[in-house]
Symmetry: C2
Subunit: 244 residues, 2 copies
């Protein structure tokens, strides 16, 4: 089989023609967001070119954001980020459902222990006061989209760990503990690079960008009932704000 | 001079003792955010150890987020992110001043051309309508904190490029064009990895996490007057939201 990646056919190099074909397959829905692309070897065989040419076509699609690569697992059609509205009524489960995704949560740890100074402040507690700490993975359609770490005042919510372990939903667990409703008071957003453990949980490369959201939720009297940090896979979630 | 990085002295290895000393100097303010640390060679001479031991101490401080390294320019005491409130009244200049930073802007390009479909939509224009496109670097205390790309409806604001080139402030340039006031309508926030050009402008490593904010601003009649994307150095800025 001949190869001519830098030779023009009707004005464009072979790699560009291959990129065009793949682009069209994605645009027409033959390859959908999240689909794994065939291996370089299979694409090379399909188009009758060498792997270098395929690699160049894929690199162009990665550059455009149409394709993402994951080390050791190949190339995938990029998914558009799920829109996650942030506001006073922020609810993970409801937002994911509104975006047409199936929400899920996997609890990794749940403990009750004295708060450090840094943990006590957002909950308006005194360092040493007992808090519940829940850590886990938030899922959309079964795929990890974020790591969360939530803290709750233990004296006020003694039954929370049981309720959270049963159900997973913070809203339902708070309701089971007598907090009928709560509102988001503040959110602080930064970006960070995923460390290897975070990357592993979120199926990202180490160093991949995370969107870090630190939020405080209070009951309708304004008393904090939850303070948490959520580390979203930065390209899978878009936080959206509408300013009233 | 002897070196014993893995040998315990009073229970901790030498590198940990060096990390402790540097940590204390930072905590006590002897080394302030943004200060460059002495080179590995000078620290090795100061503590009478080899550079491997110094490197291990610095790695521990980097891991904690207390120290950041920049390729080719050494290690620096990490700066706490500047808090940047996002809401209906978002103003870069005023926010930076409120955070005790001196705001600045460096315009990189300014052009007037037909809008693509993607550019027309947020401004409620038709593809092909003329827009002004301003790109540049936002500064705090003279250091780059973000790259911005703002688009404006050209038919409505013919004099905007001149006003923007004179002053740099979007608020002042809009006022000079008859838009007395404007409000933020929506913000969409994602995270991305800095490409080499972005990293160069922001003095980051390529791949460093960026906080990407896409915002639409409208006049008081609700007509969009600016749509822009700001790519913040993700560890230098924290976007803060207070939910009314």
């Amino acid at each position: 089989m001949s190869d001519a990646s830098d030779v023009s056919i009707k004005g464009s190099p072979v790699w560009a023609t291959i990129a065009d074909l793949l682009r069209r397959e994605i645009a027409e829905g033959a390859r959908r967001p999240g689909d794994r692309l065939p291996t370089e070897a299979r694409l090379a065989a399909r188009f009758g070119v060498n792997r270098h040419t395929v690699r160049r076509a894929l690199a162009a699609l990665v550059e455009e954001g149409l394709v993402r690569t994951r080390r050791g697992s190949g190339a995938f059609v990029a998914e558009a980020p799920t829109e996650y509205p942030i506001g006073a009524r922020t609810r993970f489960r409801r937002s994911m459902e509104a975006a047409g995704r199936v929400p899920g949560k996997r609890l990794l740890s749940l403990e009750t222990r004295p708060a450090t100074a840094e943990e006590a402040a957002p909950l308006c507690l005194t360092p040493g006061d007992a808090i519940h700490v829940a850590e886990g993975i938030a899922l959309a359609d079964g795929a990890p989209v974020a790591l969360f770490r939530s803290t709750f005042p233990a004296a006020r919510l003694p039954g929370l760990p049981g309720a959270l372990a049963r159900d997973g939903s913070v809203t339902d667990a708070l309701r089971a503990c007598g907090v009928a409703d709560y509102v988001r008071v503040s959110t602080r957003i930064t970006a960070a690079a995923a460390d290897p453990v975070e990357a592993g949980h979120l199926h990202l490369e180490p160093g991949a960008p995370l969107l870090v959201s630190e939020a405080i939720n209070a009951d309708l009297d304004g008393t904090p009932v939850e303070a948490g940090t959520t580390r979203f896979a930065g390209t899978r979630i878009a936080l959206t704000l509408h300013h009233p």
